[in-house]
């Protein structure tokens, strides 16, 4: 497919006027692409919807709980009370008579934190491996790509399951397990971006003035590869949330904090009489991942309009 080729062409063409503008006003050159990208993002309705969804989810998970005095573990009504019942909690009660809405509100922070830490790990490892492989090429690239392939072959959830079963279900092991299995796609993306960038003139210029490899990777290419990495971070967060949800659905999560996936797993046994117990927490997982994907797609379109609609 011609995606790669188009990307290179665009970079080369865009480089030429950039030089002249740099001579006129450096600050304008730095600010304009960012502002243009933000403008494009804001004009993308799906992306804005995703961003609003994310803000609401964050508010419900972090800003709301301090104002709610009720204990999520209290039995507030009969068991299996459907949502919208007079005099019962809005979202209904679960198999113990607890308020489902309250538990789901408190479950968000657990899911989001595990996924957040895992995403940082995923992007860090993926970007590191990808940057080194893409920049150096040759045998370094070959070895690192074999290494990446190895981790890509491990069946993700199953591997995480084994790690968590062997080392215990703590937040740390869950984050590590998700980190280990989910970094290869990031490494591949970063690698191809670095391969594309390193043949451009500004990198040659940096090398000509004697900059070290580390310096070129970190302060010359990395800022230019940042848009790609930001998209990868949103994708990694989505993947991490799905993995966390899957693991805790299977019972490998913290039993005290009741993350969304864990709560679906608990309510699963009662789905014959209580459909709302599995629906609401699962819906939250779905909406969170969807909003992250929409945001990621919006950023992708904004920084790389040529790839739109692919």
């Amino acid at each position: 497919m011609s995606v790669e080729r188009e990307g290179v062409e665009r970079e080369v063409v865009a480089g030429a006027p950039g030089v002249f503008r740099a001579a006129v006003d450096v600050r304008e050159r730095d600010a304009a692409p960012g502002r243009a990208a933000l403008g494009m993002f804001l004009r993308n309705r799906a992306a804005v919807a995703g961003a609003i969804m994310m803000i609401v989810i964050l508010l419900v998970s972090y800003a709301l709980p301090p104002f709610v005095t009720a204990d999520k573990n209290d039995f507030v009504g009969g068991r299996h009370t459907p949502p919208l019942t007079e005099g019962a909690p809005l979202f209904g009660t679960d198999y113990l008579g607890r308020d489902i809405g309250l538990i789901v509100m408190h479950g968000g922070s657990t899911t989001l934190e595990v996924a957040g830490f895992a995403a940082v790990l995923i992007v860090f490892v993926g970007a590191l491996v990808g940057a080194i492989a893409g920049y150096h090429g040759g045998w370094v690239d070959k070895v690192l790509m074999k290494f990446t392939e190895f981790f890509q072959i491990l069946p993700g959830l199953l591997f995480a399951l084994v790690v968590v079963a062997l080392f215990g279900a703590s937040t740390l092991t869950i984050v590590l397990a998700i980190g280990i299995i989910a970094w290869p796609p990031v490494a591949r993306q970063t690698r191809s971006e670095f391969m594309k960038q390193k043949s451009l003139e500004y990198v040659k210029a940096a090398r000509a003035i004697g900059a070290s490899d580390t310096r070129i990777i970190l302060s010359t290419i990395l800022p230019n590869a940042l848009p790609v990495l930001i998209v990868q971070i949103t994708l990694a967060m989505g993947t991490a949330i799905l993995f966390e949800a899957g693991l805790s659905f299977l019972g490998l999560g913290d039993a005290d904090s009741l993350s969304w996936g864990y709560y679906v797993g608990l309510n699963r046994q009662y789905f014959l009489v209580n459909w709302w117990g599995v629906t609401l927490p699962g819906l939250m997982v779905f909406l969170t991942v969807l909003s992250l994907s929409l945001i990621g797609d919006g950023i992708q379109d904004a920084v790389n309009p040529k790839l739109r609609g692919r």
Partner: protein, 330 residues
């Protein structure tokens, strides 16, 4: 001849990867706190004495150097021996073998579902690239990615199993089926149970496959040979299904091998939701009983399957696509 040596090289690579997976898995167990003896000797009536434990470790050769243990482990695994499960009190292989067929059935039917429907949707969209339907495929694929598979499964279960009561809610066979049921009746029964798990698992790939098929078909439909086929007056049906589709399918075939791991991971969740008696459900019950020997065997087997599936896709691809042969002749 070059072709043969390429294939041999690909197989050697696969063999090396398999070895790496086995070593990696062994190290994982070795690094984890506790061993089989700890699991065996702790019980409801207190733990066994240190002396007994030491003798057990000697018997199981756990007191030997790590490298010796590793070699013995590799030898055993290559012979299909994954040891003994102290939890289920049976050889691990005896637990695993009956579970392979149901998982393969589920995996293949889900892939078939996703490929056939995905290609149909993608082709339809590619013929009308500016239609609303074509544009909405992107959002559609994001939705498909964001749905947690266990949640999709539960929702389908509630709607089609509990509310509409069209489809069975668990298992693979109807236990009330008469003993003298014919083979066809039995197959239909399994098929009936297969529908919901297939859809839940297939949906993960449906979105991405249709998006991929659309992109690839868009490109193929603009190519010269399709224009030629149209110009010489072939009916659109022939152009589309006989000429364009063959090349348009290539990207999907390539990623099938790669997606096998994702598929089997998803199978764990789907099988758990639908009580499907496959490897995934065995993995789930092994997590509950902390039966790491079974978990590890499943991980190794599935990884090996993924590696072999990848190698096979590569080789078949080389044999089918003449373009991959040409550069070597020059």
């Amino acid at each position: 001849m070059r072709q043969a040596s390429k294939i041999a090289k690909r197989l050697a690579e696969a063999a090396l990867l398999i070895l790496a997976v086995i070593v990696f898995n062994f190290m994982l167990v070795h690094l984890a706190p506790g061993d089989v003896v700890d699991a065996l000797s702790s019980g409801a009536f207190g733990d066994a004495s240190e002396e007994v434990n030491a003798r057990l470790r000697e018997q199981l050769k756990l007191d030997e150097p790590v490298l010796v243990q590793l070699c013995a482990y590799i030898g055993n695994v290559l012979q299909g021996d994954f040891g003994y499960s102290p939890v289920a009190k049976a050889p691990v292989m005896d637990l695993i073998l009956p579970r392979v067929a149901p998982t393969l059935l589920l995996a293949i039917s889900s892939l078939a579902f996703a490929v056939v429907l995905g290609v149909a949707i993608g082709t339809y969209a590619a013929r009308r690239p500016e239609s609303g339907f074509s544009h909405s495929l992107t959002v559609f694929s994001l939705i498909g990615f964001a749905m947690p598979v266990f949640w999709t499964g539960l929702l389908l279960l509630i709607v089609f199993g509990v509310w509409l009561q069209w489809l069975p809610i668990s298992g693979m066979v109807n236990l009330r089926l008469p003993r003298d049921a014919t083979l066809i009746e039995r197959a239909l029964d399994v098929g009936h149970h297969l529908i919901l798990p297939t859809v839940s698992l297939g949906v993960i790939f449906l979105a991405s496959f249709s998006r991929l098929a659309r992109a690839s078909m868009l490109e193929v439909l603009q190519s010269d040979y399709v224009r030629t086929a149209r110009a010489k007056g072939l009916p659109e049906r022939t152009v589309l299904y006989k000429h364009a589709l063959r090349n348009g399918l290539i990207p999907i075939v390539t990623i099938l091998g790669m997606e096998f791991g994702v598929l089997l991971s998803g199978a764990i969740l789907v099988e758990t939701v639908f009580a499907w008696p496959g490897l995934g459900r065995l993995a789930f019950t092994s997590v509950l009983t902390r039966d790491t020997s079974v978990l590890l065997a499943i991980l190794t087997l599935v990884s090996v399957t993924v590696i072999l599936a990848n190698a096979l896709t590569d080789i078949v691809y080389r044999l089918i696509d003449p373009r991959l042969r040409v550069p070597e002749a020059t």
